[in-house]
C-alpha cells in the first residue's frame, strides 16, 4: 500500500486532464504566460507525454510590455521542452501604439483579450490550456475544468456542463472552443511547493533583489526598461523587491521583500496578509471585474 500525498494526487489529476484533451481535441494549444502557474502547467505537460514532447505548441499572447526576464525564460523553456513557441501580438494594438501608460484598461483589453481571440482564430485552435486556479478569485471558484466558449469566445456561467467523476465532455460544435484548466484544483501554496520539489525554473523576479522602483497609486512599480515614463520629480529608487504575480511590468505591483530562496518565498507567502491578486491593477476596477472580463473572453 502506498498513500499518495495531496501533491501526488493533484499531479496525477492534472496529467489525466492534459491527456484527455490530447485524446479528444483536434488542435490543442497551451497558453504560456511565463509565470509560476504556467511553469507548473508546462512541467505537468512534459511529464504527461514523456518521453515524447508535449504534442501541441506553446502560445504566448504577448503585450510587448512583459518584463525582459520573462521573455528570456520563455524562449529557454520552449527549447528545453522541445515545443514549438508561437508568439502573437495583436497587430491592431501595435498599429495604435497601445501602452499601459496612456490607455489604462484598453491596454489589457486589446493586447490580451482581443489578442487571445485573434490568435485562437488565426491558428484554428479548438482547445487551449490555461493556468488559472480556482483559489485565485471568487468567480474562478465556479469555473469548470473544461470551460466552453461560443464561436465569439464568450463564457456563459449558466451554460456550463456538469463535470462528474473524471469524465469530461469535450464535444463541441464547429467554431466553439474549450479553455481547459489542468491546475484548477491547485492552490498558491501547492504551486510553490511543487516548484520546489520538482526544481522547476521560474523567472528570477519572483525572488528578492535590489531593483529600480517607483511608488505610484499605492503600487510599487519596477522600472524595467527605458520605456517607463517617469512623472515629473519621480526618480527610481533601488529597493529590495520581488513579485508575487507577473504581468505587464508597468501594471504589476511588487512587494518589498528579502526572500531570496524558494523556502523564504513560501514562508513570506504563508505569513502575508494580502491575497496574491492584490498586486494587479485590473482587479480593483470593480468588485466583479474578473467575472466581467471572463465573459468578454479574458482568460
Amino acid at each position: 500500500m502506498r498513500v499518495l500525498t495531496h501533491l501526488q494526487r493533484l499531479e496525477a489529476e492534472s496529467i489525466h486532464i492534459l491527456r484527455e484533451v490530447v485524446g479528444e481535441a483536434e488542435r490543442p494549444v497551451m497558453l504560456y504566460s511565463v509565470g509560476k502557474d504556467s511553469a507548473v502547467m508546462l512541467q505537468l505537460a512534459r511529464k504527461a507525454f514523456f518521453p515524447a514532447p508535449p504534442p501541441f505548441p506553446l502560445l504566448h499572447v504577448d503585450t510587448t510590455w512583459k518584463f525582459r526576464a520573462m521573455y528570456e525564460l520563455r524562449d529557454h523553456m520552449a527549447r528545453v521542452a522541445g515545443m514549438e513557441l508561437l508568439v502573437y501580438q495583436n497587430p491592431d494594438a501595435i498599429a495604435r501604439g497601445i501602452n499601459p501608460f496612456d490607455h489604462g484598461s484598453l491596454h489589457t483589453d486589446l493586447w490580451k483579450t482581443e489578442g487571445l481571440k485573434q490568435a485562437l482564430d488565426k491558428y484554428g485552435f479548438d482547445a487551449a490550456f490555461g493556468g488559472a486556479r480556482r483559489d485565485e478569485e471568487k468567480s474562478r471558484a465556479k469555473e469548470r475544468i473544461f470551460s466552453f466558449r461560443s464561436a465569439n469566445h464568450r463564457w456563459d456561467p449558466k451554460q456550463q456542463r456538469p463535470e462528474l467523476w473524471r469524465l469530461y465532455n469535450a464535444k463541441k460544435a464547429q467554431g466553439e472552443s474549450i479553455r481547459v484548466f489542468p491546475i484548477s484544483n491547485w492552490t498558491e501554496l501547492d504551486i510553490w511547493q511543487y516548484i520546489q520539489l520538482e526544481n522547476i525554473p521560474i523567472v528570477p523576479l519572483y525572488f528578492a533583489a535590489p531593483r529600480p522602483t517607483v511608488r505610484r497609486d499605492g503600487l510599487l512599480l519596477m522600472v524595467d526598461d527605458e520605456r517607463f515614463r517617469l512623472a515629473p520629480g519621480e526618480t527610481p529608487v533601488a529597493r529590495s523587491i520581488r513579485f508575487r504575480t507577473l504581468g505587464c511590468y508597468p501594471l504589476t505591483g511588487a512587494i518589498e521583500s528579502h526572500a531570496q530562496t524558494l523556502s523564504e518565498v513560501i514562508q513570506e507567502m504563508l505569513l502575508t496578509t494580502t491575497s496574491e491578486r492584490q498586486g494587479r491593477a485590473i482587479d480593483h476596477d470593480q468588485s466583479a471585474s474578473m467575472e466581467k472580463k471572463k465573459q468578454e473572453g479574458y482568460f
Binding site: 498513500v3 494526487r9 491527456r19 485524446g23 456561467p157 469524465l167
Partner: protein, 643 residues
C-alpha cells in the same frame, strides 16, 4: 456569546516563522479530504464555508476589507460580517442572494488539506450537487434547526448514497435560533435517522452548530454542553478515510493516449483506476482480450517498479498487441466484464427530457459509444422511495433504465468501482451533458450475442429483383404532400417492374404503432419502429417509401444510421406552414388552432427541417407529378441497375 466581530489574528503557525523547511516537509505529507456541503436554500451553506475559511485563517486582509464593505452594502446580517459573501462569486447570484453553481474552495489545517464543493440547495440545480458529490470523500448535509428534515434534505441524502459517499455529517445549523435546544436537536437527528436507514446510510455523525456565530465549528461551544462529540472542523481533520482501498482491487487502467515518439517506443498512457502494477505483470487488453505483460512503467522521473491506483503513468508491453485510446488494460487473471446491454440508474441533468429510443453518446472512462435508452423501468420518488411508472425522465429525475450500446463496453458495476461504472450521456445534437449514470449489471454479455447467419444475403435479395435496396424517406409538415408524391413515385416504380413498398404514417398508426400517442417521446418511438421495419424491408431487397412528418432531425438521422451508406435518401417535401395550413386537407390545422389537437407539428410542436436532404421538393415550384418524376430520375441514376 461567541465573539464574531473579532479581527482574525493572522498569527500563522510558529513553525512557519521559525522553520519553514520543517513546516513544508510536514505539509507535503498531509492527506487530502474532498467534501461537499449540501442542504436547502438558506440553510447557511455559504456562511458555513465562509466561516471555515475565516476560522482556518484563509482570508487575507484585502479580501476581508472587501468583505466588510460588501457586507454593509449587500449583506443580510446588518452591520455584521456576512460570510456567505466570501464564497458567493458570481454577480448574478449576488443579486439573487443564492448560490447557483458548484464552487470549489481550498483550505488546510495542521492535519489535512481540504477541497470543498459548495453545492446549491434549490431543486432545479440538483445536477450541480451530483457533480460536486461525484468527486467527494465526505458529505456535510446541512439542516436548518428551525425547519428540520425537508424534501431537499431527503433528495440530497439520497444522491449522496447513490453516488456512493460513505462518510456523512449531519450538520444541524442555526442552533442559536432555537436556543441551543437539545430536544430540538435530538428530534431532528431521530427524524433523519429513520430516513437515512431506509436509503441505506447506515451511519452518520450529527453535530449541532451555528455557522453564523461559530458554535462547534473549530472549538466546542459553551452553548451546547450536552453535546459531547467533536466540533465540525476537528471531525473533518480526523475522520478515517479509506485512501488505499482501491489499491487492493484488481488492476485497471483506461488507455487515454498511445505515446509513439519513435518506432521503438509504444507506451500506453492512463490513470490507474484500481489495483497496482509492476513490470512483469500479466495484463489483458479489453475488449479484444489479447494478453501480454508489462515491460516498463515509464515516467519522466525514471522507470517505476510499482505504481498504484490514482497515479498517472505510461506502460510499455512486452508484445506488439493492438491497443488504443478507449481500450482498458487489466490484470490478465481477473479482467472486467464486457457487455453491450445494461441496467443502470440515470440522474437526468438536462431541461430536455429523456427521449426513450433516441441515441445518445455515452462516455465511460475513455470509451465512447452510441447508446439507446429504453423507456424507464421506473422513476424513484426520493421523498417516499416509491417506484413510479414513467415514459421519460425530466430534469432532476432519477430512474432505472435498460441501456443498449452500439459496441461492447468494458465495465465494472458502479458499486464496486466508479471509474468503470460511472458514465455520462451526451445529446448528439447540442453536445450537452444530459445525464449521469451508474451501471448496475450486464443484461446481456456481448460474447453471447450472435446474429442469425443468413445464407441468402440482403445483396442476393436485391440482385434477384434487379435493383438496389433503398429507403426514400419523405419528411415535411402535415399536408405538405408527402403521401401524394410518395404514391405517385411508387406507381411509377411499379410500372418499371421494381419491387417497392410504401409505409404510410396514418396506416402504421392503425396497427403496429396504435399504442403510441403524439408526445415527443411517442413520436420518437414511432419513427424508431418505422425505421426498424424499413430496415428489414431493405434486407429483403425492397425499395421502401415512407411518408411520415418525422419532425425531429435526430430520429431521421437515427434511421439513416441503421442503414448502409447511400441507402437512405431523405426527401424533404418543402411546403411553408402558411401554405400547408391554407390547404388543410384533413382539417387538422383548424383543430390544432382551436386547441383540440395537442402537440401538432408546426403549431405547438417544432419541425426541424433537414439541413442537407438528398432530394428537396419545393411544392410551390412544381406539381406532385413533376416531383415524382424528379425523384424516380434520381433513383434511376444509382439504384436501378439495368433500368
Amino acid at each position: 456569546m461567541t465573539d464574531h466581530t473579532r479581527q482574525p489574528s493572522y498569527q500563522a503557525d510558529a513553525l512557519i516563522a521559525e522553520n519553514i523547511d520543517a513546516y513544508l516537509a510536514q505539509h507535503q505529507h498531509k492527506s487530502l479530504l474532498r467534501f461537499i456541503t449540501c442542504g436547502s436554500v438558506d440553510d447557511g451553506k455559504s456562511t458555513l464555508i465562509g466561516r471555515l475559511l475565516y476560522d482556518s485563517k484563509m482570508i487575507f486582509e484585502d479580501q476581508l476589507a472587501a468583505l466588510e464593505a460588501d457586507s454593509k452594502r449587500l449583506g443580510t446580517q446588518g452591520q455584521q460580517i456576512d460570510f456567505a459573501l466570501l464564497v458567493d462569486g458570481l454577480a448574478a447570484e449576488r443579486e439573487q442572494g443564492i448560490t447557483i453553481d458548484v464552487a470549489y474552495r481550498y483550505f488546510a489545517t495542521d492535519q489535512r488539506k481540504f477541497i470543498v464543493a459548495d453545492t446549491p440547495g434549490h431543486e432545479q440545480y440538483t445536477r450541480n450537487m451530483v457533480t460536486g458529490a461525484s468527486t467527494a470523500d465526505l458529505a456535510v448535509i446541512l439542516i436548518d434547526a428551525r425547519k428540520g428534515v425537508l424534501t431537499q434534505t431527503r433528495r440530497h441524502s439520497y444522491l449522496v448514497k447513490l453516488i456512493g459517499i460513505r462518510n456523512v455529517v449531519l450538520a444541524v445549523n442555526k442552533m442559536d435560533l432555537v436556543g441551543y435546544d437539545q430536544a430540538r436537536f435530538d428530534a431532528i437527528v431521530a427524524d433523519y435517522r429513520s430516513f437515512a436507514a431506509a436509503i441505506g446510510i447506515a451511519s452518520f455523525t450529527a453535530i449541532p452548530l451555528s455557522g453564523f456565530l461559530g458554535d462547534n465549528i473549530t472549538t466546542a461551544s459553551a452553548h451546547t454542553p450536552w453535546y459531547t462529540g467533536l466540533p465540525l472542523l476537528t471531525h473533518l481533520e480526523t475522520v478515517a478515510l479509506d485512501l488505499t482501498g482501491a489499491q487492493t482491487e484488481p488492476f485497471r487502467l483506461s488507455v487515454q493516449w498511445v505515446n509513439r515518439p519513435n518506432l521503438d517506443f509504444r507506451g500506453f498512457a492512463g490513470l490507474i483506476a484500481s489495483g497496482q502494477v509492476r513490470p512483469g505483470d500479466a495484463v489483458r487488453v479489453l475488449p479484444s482480450g489479447k494478453t501480454s505483460s508489462v515491460a516498463r512503467i515509464v515516467t519522466m522521473d525514471g522507470d517505476l517498479d510499482l505504481a498504484v491506483a490514482g497515479q498517472s503513468i505510461t506502460l510499455t508491453l512486452q508484445d506488439e498487441v493492438d491497443c488504443s485510446r478507449g481500450d482498458v488494460l487489466a490484470a490478465a487473471a481477473s479482467p472486467p466484464q464486457v457487455a453491450d446491454q445494461f441496467e443502470a440508474t440515470l440522474v437526468w441533468l438536462s431541461d430536455d427530457a429523456l427521449l426513450a429510443g433516441r441515441a445518445y453518446w455515452l462516455k465511460l472512462g475513455t470509451q465512447w459509444a452510441s447508446a439507446q435508452v429504453q423507456q424507464p423501468k421506473y422513476q424513484i420518488n426520493v421523498n417516499t422511495l416509491e417506484h413510479l411508472a414513467t415514459r421519460t425522465l425530466e430534469l432532476n429525475a432519477i430512474g432505472v433504465v435498460t441501456l443498449t450500446t452500439d459496441k461492447p463496453i468494458v465495465f465494472e458495476p458502479y458499486a464496486s468501482q466508479q471509474e468503470l461504472g460511472g458514465f455520462i450521456l451526451i445529446d448528439k445534437y447540442n453536445n450537452a451533458t444530459v445525464a449521469a449514470g451508474m451501471l448496475h449489471f450486464a443484461l446481456r454479455r456481448s460474447q453471447n450475442v450472435h446474429w442469425q447467419a443468413i445464407d441468402v444475403t440482403r445483396t442476393a435479395h436485391a440482385e434477384h429483383k434487379h435493383q438496389r435496396a433503398r429507403v426514400l424517406w419523405f419528411t415535411g409538415l402535415s399536408g405538405a404532400g408527402k403521401s401524394t408524391i410518395a404514391n405517385l413515385v411508387e406507381k411509377k416504380l411499379f410500372a418499371l417492374g421494381k419491387h417497392t413498398f410504401l409505409l404510410d404514417g396514418d396506416n402504421v398508426r392503425h396497427g403496429l404503432n396504435k399504442d403510441l400517442g403524439f408526445t415527443e417521446a411517442d413520436r420518437v418511438e414511432n419513427i424508431r419502429r418505422v425505421g426498424e421495419v424499413a430496415k428489414l424491408m431493405t434486407d429483403a431487397g425492397l425499395i421502401v417509401l415512407t411518408a411520415f412528418i418525422s419532425p425531429f432531425r435526430a430520429e431521421r438521422d437515427l434511421v439513416r444510421g441503421m442503414l448502409d451508406a447511400g441507402e437512405f435518401l431523405e426527401v424533404y417535401v418543402d411546403t411553408s406552414l402558411a401554405e400547408a395550413e391554407r390547404r388543410d386537407v384533413k382539417g387538422l390545422y383548424r383543430k390544432a388552432r382551436a386547441g383540440q389537437l395537442k402537440n401538432f407539428t408546426g403549431i405547438d410542436s417544432p419541425y426541424e427541417a433537414p439541413s442537407a436532404p438528398e432530394i428537396r421538393i419545393d411544392t410551390a415550384a412544381m406539381s406532385a407529378e413533376l416531383a415524382a418524376e424528379l425523384i424516380v430520375a434520381r433513383l434511376l441514376k444509382d439504384a436501378l441497375p439495368g433500368a
